[in-house]
């Protein structure tokens, strides 16, 4: 029996990242990823990816340590937002409304069971490029940078969670996302699960936090238009002294072409390209990868790097 999908949340809007090296992190996002500064407030610098229609893509906040702050999710409309708020409050996970964010109207805050904070919103300010960033083509948010990885937009966020199942239920029920792929260990435990809000094959991911931390980040990913952008970014990161953790290669799970680096603040950043892959089937059947299948490594045989299972931000004591 098919249950019709409710799509109350349209997409991941933006995300906040903490960094103990704010200047170096800023240089990385601007020079290596090709983003632009689109605002400053207090300890935060706002960064914009060239085809993001909203005011900012990334909020980079100077802090004592690395890690992830709020994830902003845009509703599909004001009624949809109300429905989500009601659902979250019903689950007792609401944290109330705020209106403190650059470019955003009222934001409803909530937290997943692991403590990662989400801000749900409808009202948003359209990105208005300054003169030197006005694009030649009117169907584009800002000028194409021609710099580093030329990231087009935020793609997805991968959270570490002590209790993946609890976060998974939250994502499915409170955020009405759809699970598209998962890894199930021989023990029966789901060690990672990929959720989509959109027609992309995933937007939000939970993987098990080996350190049993709380609210930690595995990585944030930005989408490039081509795999060549990612190959070129590898050279750019090499030259800039940015630590390349693994890749370029192709994931078996979700088949994403990837490169993982650590930005200077220590957070893991993925550059990703999905080609023309979308999940258009409204009744897509969840793909389950077994422990044996995962042991084969990535799509073309690369061993999954050990630090993938030991490095999260912030570090745990």
């Amino acid at each position: 029996m098919h249950t019709e999908r409710v799509r109350d949340l349209a997409h991941v809007g933006s995300v906040q990242l903490f960094t103990p090296s704010p200047e170096e992190s800023l240089r990385f996002f601007v020079d290596c990823l090709g983003m632009s500064e689109s605002g400053r407030r207090g300890e935060s610098v706002y960064l914009h990816a060239w085809d993001d229609y909203e005011r900012f893509t990334l909020k980079l906040t100077a802090a004592a340590t690395s890690g992830i702050g709020r994830t902003y999710l845009r509703a599909t409309g004001p009624e949809a937002l109300k429905r989500r708020v009601a659902e979250v409050e019903r689950a007792g996970l609401g944290r109330g409304w705020t209106e403190d964010e650059l470019g955003l109207g009222p934001v409803f805050l909530c937290g997943d069971p692991d403590g990662h904070e989400f801000g749900l919103y409808w009202e948003t300010e359209r990105y208005v490029p300054p003169p030197e960033q006005r694009p030649a083509l009117k169907n584009q948010a800002a000028r194409f940078p021609g710099r580093g990885a030329n990231v087009r937009r935020l793609d997805h966020i991968n959270y570490l969670a002590a209790d993946v199942d609890a976060c998974s239920r939250f994502t499915a029920e409170q955020l009405c996302a759809r699970a598209t792929e998962q890894i199930r260990l021989d023990s029966g435990r789901v060690s990672g699960i990929w959720y989509t809000l959109s027609d992309k094959s995933y937007d939000l991911v939970y993987v098990h936090d080996w350190a049993e931390g709380r609210g930690r980040l595995h990585h944030i990913a930005f989408a490039t238009d081509t795999r060549e952008d990612i190959l070129r970014a590898a050279d750019v990161c090499l030259e800039a002294g940015i630590h390349i953790e693994t890749g370029p290669h192709k994931h078996a799970v979700q088949q994403t072409f990837f490169l993982y680096v650590y930005e200077p603040g220590g957070n893991r950043i993925e550059l990703c390209n999905a080609g023309a892959r979308l999940v258009l089937a409204p009744d897509w059947e969840l793909i389950t990868w077994t422990e044996a299948e995962r042991a084969k490594g990535q799509a073309w045989g690369l061993r999954t790097i050990e630090s993938f299972h030991t490095h999260g931000t912030p570090s745990t004591p």
Copy 2:
């Protein structure tokens, strides 16, 4: 005031093409585009693009002339299908139900005001690859062909219409699609409009039929994973003696990287790549291109080829 989008139709499922040169057309789709035969029935051969989850992507039917037959659109669920049927019947455009198609359950037929036929459906057969086409990765419909353009999936259909406005209303109201871009002539007439059912920036397009024909086709487009696939396809078509009409280049409208060829039956086929471009904004504002803007040609300055305004299928007397 924002009206929440209803998404009752998930995506373009498949399309029927008529060809007076069935053998040569078949060879083109298999050898040059990298598709595979997935069935035969009467005068039709069914073709499958390697990552299409349904039984077929293209139904190639031998006929006296070229042109487009039915376009199949998949509903987001059984209730959504009922809503669309009710809406179409309310508009007096329904043509009743059929169950005559390979791999599809009940199909509700209807026609746009120009006479192009649509089949709306929910039930569909999952593509089951024969042994020699089983993919190495379980999250993929069939084996990657490594042949010609390696088209991954059907992307969009561009219909010629004597009355674009009427077809546009049908698409917006009966098919509940969203318009993302359009061309408006100085006279005020809309000469082309791009609609999306999904998060892709377009799925269905209407452009004005200069010949005042009925039910004609401008082109059908297939998506490749990379721009390089399209560059390579240009060499493949050159070697195979396939007529390349224009490209590779990048459209200003929708920014698609494109190559247009005529398959041996005479129908125009586009190979397209959108990079990471999606329309994720639930309140995307319709982009309008003026006649002056269009006169600048394509994104990188290529003049729009004259035959773009003279060649449609079938030919008109």
Copy 3:
């Protein structure tokens, strides 16, 4: 009977370009092509492409008009240089020695019959990158820029000549280059001829100057590592307001993937990629294209743009 090839000249070293818009031209080469400034002298700024082992790749000289200055060709050794000098002097085309150029030792000047000036040299200064340009890998001349077209090196020069045959003889005999392809009109006249000094399929090209000018330039070309660099450069040029003349497309002659733009000084610049194509055969047979073959346009059917036969620099009155 095979005559063994003499290879006294190793490759095109660098070239001088005149521009009436020196600031804008400089910005183009740095921002759009990804070159770096490597010196200044008088009215000239020296530019370096990231993998050029010599001190400079392009000498950009402010002048009243556009056009090409000296082309520097490096000998394969001191004895080879002597042989070339003797051969040029024997033909009465020598202009004596100079030692006036940044980074170069003694340079022997000569002119082709159309008046283009060449400087033959052996001694050259290795490029020493400043600290901020030191590459991560020691087998690379300078840091990979990750900017614009990322041109790796100068590729070839295409000269306009009133008398192609005379220049062709000069290139074959005095410069001991090998002709690899040519266009022969129905009248029997060679309207264009491609010469190589190296294993590349061409380094120096002469095409007929319709304006019967003297010493004019058709274009200068820079090589990129990938075709994607060229597609990206098209976006970069679009955004920067640089005139794109034609492309991206693939030439039939030499099969080069190309983009032609006019730098702000008016000179035509090509970005080119040859893939893995080399002319390794020591007895390569000259390919001759007929007028009828040329009428088919470029490899994938693009018509050769009209301005290709009307725009040269400097303009003729």
Copy 4:
């Protein structure tokens, strides 16, 4: 003091490979690499890469075990061939003349100190494509296949040698090749050295044979036009069940973008792309990599795979 380079050998012409699985190996070279059969003789099938001007690129010979047979090197002319023969005979490494090879005239055989056999020749038969392989463009040897990796030509051969220094001297002196890069261990021993006959940065490589075997092969490499061809080939090999050893990634030494697989006969095959990299400097200074530098892995940080130091063909007992 610069010694002028003698270039008596133009390029690697072709190579013979032994395979205990001839049918499967043949399928690999045809289906996965995109080569075509161009002859059969006895236990050998001849294969042709689409832009090779000679009769064959690879001679695949059924045998009891894997490994490399003769490497054919083409002279730059008949006099050059005589010079090389005299030089080889002077060194006592000649094995006499033969005329037994398909498409080749008289071949002078010789062996390097490790026992790898070379055949030096001048006369060669031009590849004449059968009708179905006639290219659309006359400056190309055969039709572009649009299949698998689309390898354009043989690129280089990497030999295992018990005594790298002895082989290195042979290559420099008898074959008059130029060394462009090497790895020198802390002990002072050169463990790998890259030689070029041409303007490519390398054609012939020797690396130390840990097993102290004789005449063994590390790998044979084919050049593709783009990095994307190599990424696509990774998918093709994955689907075909071909073992991918490592890659795609970029070497630090020589900066080649690579993919290593084992063809079904067990021989290691590299797909490689050098971008626009050439060694044009006639006085290129040999680059030396230290043990510490090599310990950093490949260019983007990939650890050199262990089997790179344990797998050669044929296997040693």
